[in-house]
């Protein structure tokens, strides 16, 4: 296990033996280390997401699942590492990446309608300083239809149930017409109908040749809903096809017992005056 310390001008040992990352991969992460308040929460992540697959990101609380997503999208700073989407930096491919944040990350009493929120998925196409036109509204409406919320389009979002709010977020992602969907706990706290709707959507996305990376909490349904898994606990424990990596042994390594030494190392770095590298 390397510690993610990258010396200037050198590749970490873990990367040295790896083949070139494929430009096909919707998301490839090289040697990414992320720290909050100078305390490392993700160590030396190397990961290539295979194209046209549904990937579950799995791990205990505090494993850095959301951090992985946010750091990959540049929403939190990376201490080290390189992230590429189809072999390009994120800035060049924003159009092709849809991000669904955790539902609790926004204020659902905000004065907007469900349709307004879904239209936000079209803003990049609309561009700066221009109003959302008829065609884009219709496209947003069609996405609401796909998640079964067309009747509630004009409702203020606080009047929707938790599951309906999650579906509004999904509709917004659909409205982006992206190729890669990155979702942070879309299944958290939703009703059975919404869970079914999300599963169907994921299947539709895969059939349409898209890729989805989904932070998921319910281990039982992972093999049923997904075909790939990324097991995470401060570092990548295992990644690959479900039947290869979703083993008792790997789950034990991910969930069983804290990786005390790594946590202690993180604390020590946070206390020290050294830069996180």
């Amino acid at each position: 296990m390397t510690t993610g310390v990258v010396h200037p001008g050198h590749l970490p040992e873990s990367l040295a033996g790896l083949p070139e990352h494929s430009p096909d991969s919707p998301l490839s992460i090289h040697a990414m280390t992320v720290a909050y308040q100078r305390k490392p929460v993700l160590w030396d992540v190397d990961y290539d997401a295979p194209a046209r697959s549904l990937v579950a990101i799995v791990g205990p609380n505090g494993a850095g699942k959301s951090t992985l997503i946010k750091a990959a999208l540049g929403l939190v700073p990376r201490a080290t590492g390189l992230v590429e989407f189809w072999g390009e930096p994120f800035k060049r491919v924003r159009d092709r990446v849809a991000y669904v944040p955790q539902r609790e990350s926004v204020d659902w009493t905000f004065p907007v309608s469900a349709l307004d929120v879904v239209c936000m998925g079209r803003y990049r196409r609309v561009g700066w300083c221009r109003p959302v036109g008829r065609a884009h509204r219709d496209a947003a409406m069609a996405c609401l239809e796909r998640v079964g919320l067309v009747d509630l389009a004009r409702r203020q979002i606080s009047q929707l149930s938790g599951g309906q709010q999650q579906r509004v977020f999904l509709a917004r992602a659909l409205a982006q017409e992206a190729d890669l969907y990155i979702m942070d706990e879309p299944f958290a706290g939703v009703d059975a109908a919404t869970e079914r709707a999300i599963v169907e959507l994921l299947a539709e996305l895969r059939d349409a040749g898209k890729t989805a990376l989904v932070v998921h909490h319910d281990l039982q349904t992972v093999p049923q809903y997904f075909d790939q898994a990324l097991l995470l606990n401060m570092r990548v424990v295992a990644a690959g096809a479900i039947d290869e990596v979703f083993t008792q042994h790997n789950l034990q390594k991910t969930y069983g017992g804290k990786l005390t030494l790594l946590s202690e190392a993180a604390e020590a770095i946070a206390r020290s005056d050294l830069r996180v590298r």
Partner: protein, 423 residues
């Protein structure tokens, strides 16, 4: 009360313009839950103004705006820095930054800029009343060009600021809304929430400077926060919220201004500070909105609860008559007579006895059905103990329109569920 134009037009106009530009921008502060930032800005621009004055020796509007904008940016940067380094909540960071910067401004005025026109007192309280225009007292004697020439320069500053604020909110409406609602998503889409935050803060700093010379920082803070808070209680769309906030701000400015001399006049005391009375009016409007607002108002919720209580009383009356009849007993029960009268008026109970009519029985059966279906659901599916389910079912029968689908035809206590096969 006659408004004499010479005395009143410009102060009132200044107040309205200040109100409009502050209210517009304030909507985004309130929605982003950084209302304190308005307070912070209105104080922390002071050292920026003093330093700009010390460097250039000028108090012209452009110089003041540059000083204010830089101070505004410095405030945002310092707040972020203190949040990170001090590991404190945003409110504490803002409080530290603005109080220290304001104090720095006061010290600078006392030490370096003494005997100049800069005055910390004016910053706090404003000088609406000092915007007196001493031209001819009759409008009819004037052409438009004379009026324009005679207007005090701070009016022009306010007009320009107001136009810019309107432009900002119109042109960047969707971007500001996105950044306020979901900054992470917006940033991922290339609409940087950080950049938009700085743009908004520079505008707030500018509006603060333009406004407080005329109306004082207390009214600036109030105009940034209160109209948006009022509108938040009355609307549920951002566009209408912004409109309502502007209307509330103008209403407060006008009525506060008139009130500041009309009311003391009527009471025979000396006039009060106009900015102060506008702020009080804003507070009163907020109280009224909180009390009378259609959705979130106290009155509306009292009415809603009353309506609900009456419906529950009626449901309970019908259900208890239904249960009594089910057991072959008649009802002598002490039911609230007003509820009984209402049940009779609506034709649920016969006029001469406490017996259900045809429609009454159907309605009562529906209530009892919901109750018993919930009881059996709570026992069979949720696994609650048999003697624990009456109370929750009693609530759910009134609250839920839907009922659990599965039904064995009998409730956990062996009584038939109306409307199912065994009934």
């Amino acid at each position: 009360m006659m408004l004499s134009p010479a005395l009143d037009l410009f102060p009132l106009l200044a107040a309205i313009l200040a109100a409009v530009c502050c209210a517009l921008l304030g909507n985004f502060l309130v929605l982003r839950r950084i209302s304190l930032m308005g307070d912070a800005m209105s104080h922390s621009v002071l050292p920026g103004l003093v330093i700009a004055f010390l460097i250039t020796g000028s108090r012209s509007a452009p110089v003041m705006f540059v000083g204010a904008a830089l101070a505004g940016i410095a405030t945002v940067v310092l707040v972020e820095l203190i949040k990170r380094l001090g590991r404190v909540e945003p409110g504490a960071a803002m409080g530290v930054v603005f109080s220290v910067l304001f104090a720095l401004g006061v010290l600078l005025i006392e030490r370096a800029a003494r005997n100049t026109e800069l005055d910390a007192d004016c910053v706090l309280h404003g000088q609406l009343e000092s915007l007196v225009w001493d031209g001819p007292s009759s409008w009819s004697a004037l052409g438009l060009s004379e009026v324009i020439q005679a207007a005090p320069p701070s009016i022009w500053t306010l007009v320009i600021t107001c136009v810019l604020a309107i432009l900002l909110v119109v042109v960047l409406f969707k971007e500001l809304r996105l950044a306020a609602f979901d900054p992470a998503f917006g940033t991922s889409q290339g609409f940087s929430a950080t950049a938009l935050h700085y743009v908004l803060m520079v505008f707030v700093a500018g509006a603060t400077v333009a406004a407080f010379e005329a109306v004082g920082s207390i009214l600036v803070i109030a105009m940034l926060i209160v109209p948006a808070s009022i509108a938040r209680l009355l609307t549920d769309r951002l566009a209408s919220q912004i409109m309502v906030s502007v209307v509330a701000a103008i209403a407060a400015a006008v009525s506060g201004y008139i009130g500041s001399f009309a009311i003391p006049d009527a009471l025979g005391v000396t006039e009060v500070n106009a900015a102060g009375s506008m702020t009080v009016v804003l507070g009163l409007i907020l109280v009224a909105a909180a009390a009378l607002g259609p959705r979130y108002g106290v009155l509306a919720s009292i009415v809603r609860r009353g309506r609900m209580a009456r419906r529950i009383a009626l449901d309970n009356l019908l259900a208890s008559v239904f249960r009594a009849e089910e057991r072959g007993r008649s009802v002598s029960a002490a039911v609230r007579s007003s509820t009984l009268a209402r049940a009779r008026r609506r034709g649920f109970v016969k006029p001469d006895a406490v017996e259900l009519t045809e429609t009454g029985r159907a309605a009562a059966a529906a209530v009892v059905r919901r109750h018993r279906m919930w009881e059996s659901y709570l026992v069979d599916e949720a696994g609650l103990a048999q003697d624990h389910v009456h109370a929750p079912a009693e609530q759910l029968e009134h609250l839920m329109d839907t009922t659990p689908n599965e039904s064995t035809g009998r409730d956990p206590h062996g009584r038939p569920i109306p409307g199912t096969s065994s009934d």
